[in-house]
Symmetry: C2
Subunit: 344 residues, 2 copies
Amino acid sequence: MQGPVSRWRSTRPTLESVAREAAVSRQTVSNVLNAPHLVSEETRRRVEDVIARTGYRPVRAAQTLRTRRSYLIAVGLQTPAEDRGEVGHGFLHALTERAQARGYRTLVYTAGNDKSEISTYENLLSDYDLDGFVLTGTHTGDERTAWLSRHHIPFVTFGRPWGSAARHSWADVDGAAGIRAATDHLIGLGHHRVAFLGWPEGSGVGEDRRAGWEVACRAAALPTSGLAARMDNSFAAGRSACAELLQADDPPTAFVGVSDVIALGAWSELAARGLQPGPQAAVVGFDDSAAAALAGLSSVAQPLSEVASACLDCLQKLQEHADGPAGSPDEVLLEPRLILRSSA
Amino acid sequence: MQGPVSRWRSTRPTLESVAREAAVSRQTVSNVLNAPHLVSEETRRRVEDVIARTGYRPVRAAQTLRTRRSYLIAVGLQTPAEDRGEVGHGFLHALTERAQARGYRTLVYTAGNDKSEISTYENLLSDYDLDGFVLTGTHTGDERTAWLSRHHIPFVTFGRPWGSAARHSWADVDGAAGIRAATDHLIGLGHHRVAFLGWPEGSGVGEDRRAGWEVACRAAALPTSGLAARMDNSFAAGRSACAELLQADDPPTAFVGVSDVIALGAWSELAARGLQPGPQAAVVGFDDSAAAALAGLSSVAQPLSEVASACLDCLQKLQEHADGPAGSPDEVLLEPRLILRSSA
DNA sequence: AACGGTGCTTTGAACGTTCAAGATGGCTTA
DNA sequence: TAAGCCATCTTGAACGTTCAAAGCACCGTT
């Protein structure tokens, strides 16, 4: 226990004080921490003792000032409305946790559109010497990635650069494979007409997932025509799309949702019609959101921790070769896994 | 446009370079920024011109090293599972946005329990010279607030220190008032039996909200007995509790939920029974989550931006009087507002 | 005996800012 | 006219670290 005044503000050990106490020089203490191979066994131990005893920790601000590295990575916060699937928050959590384990910290910022986000970059970069950015919600013609590339700022995106020719590191989840696994599962349960509830055209992620469903159906020689619907990402849309599909002459018995919200909407419609999970009704969603877990909806879970680790790997690699040759960007595609609950 | 090498790494204006160009000294430039009243009108303008032209911005690391202030505030991230109501994420967003507007940045961290969170404090404080902490999810016997107080670290909590004698600054939302407004609204619609779907005993927040319902009913001379239920915070629990209350001889016609999830559960039960919103069925939730908005559930919205601003006010006040007398902590209670949708 | 190398250690400077103190010059006041 | 004051501006030091260079002792070669 320290005195009444916080130890953080008053006397705290410095390189100098540790050095004095261990009867060595500043630099030797620094070497013990940053380049132990340069220090003799004996001195090293002596210095380490003092460090342990005094609880010395280097001051980040001084290190940053000297080295231009902050051990800080920046992540944009999606607006609560955008983050319907909670993936954003889940990813932020995972990223922060993994980053912490590597000695990095996470700085968050908010931004309305690409333009204002870019000006936020400028501010963040001038103020703190960020080690890199992790972007989410990349879209076609993303100005942010272009700007960051142009300025040689290390960054990774969670999500492939859909359609654009942008060359940068990314980590992503194989949505097609996830949806395919979900569809295969439903087919395995005996369903012969599996519908896909998707997003409106134009979303790379959406088309990818849809392709997974199509491939699975084709592979099982099952029909797809008349079984795909497009809608906004909402509960109500999922519900009414489901209702509509059920009107058909030969209605689907199983539904794969491009997202949990949509799948939950469909599932509520099925429940409203008294259709219990089983041969006549099954639903799988995507994202494994808290709502899905609560409602017992089977869902495709994104491996957020792995994505986070992959992003950090990319950043560290970029960091190391900061001044070297550009090298080819890393591209990591991870397999999601199907979480089975009562809905399928 | 800068050269091929990022401007952030190569030559960037410093106090020194600006000073040279404006033909003044370092300190004068510093004064222009930090104490303009010490500088003559003419010099000030000249220096400001150079600053604008060169795009000079002070390096945070150097400032921090000198002043021990980082303009960084730390916020703990709730685990995605805890953040069911999405309040956590919404608050983080609001806080980050307000902080940004004041020139502060938000650092996030994750922590499992109080103990590990405290050790995270130690790490964060040694590494970065944080300006303060914003805590959420305070509970009775919170070790975190005790530790922070003991070490004289500036901090605020979003949430009152329920039951504990802890003396620290906080900002909170008047849940009782919010629920009371919701109940009053339902009564105004003509409902005579308004039920309350609450959390299990022992939660300060939960009891506070419940009290709001009770007061409203009493004030309108309406019954409360047999109309309150306690349950876990889940959709399913809300639904079955609703079903159970509807079995009564004289069943409620309106429901106030302590949270959106619970309220949504109740609403789905009503829908399943074919009860349309109106004289025989009405529901209001709490938190104004995205799910509520999507489902058309009326809900009590927490003024997250105002809470965030209040938290920042508290922190800045603590910061200013850091070495002065402790002073009495700020306590800010904000009114939530009722968002009306189709459910009531 | 001089030389080059290697393992370990120290020294001075630098990063970019702010603080504390001092310098300058004009104006007021005794 | 000297003293004091104020407004304005400058200087040197300090914050705590790392970098670049050098020093020293010891070794094996020549």
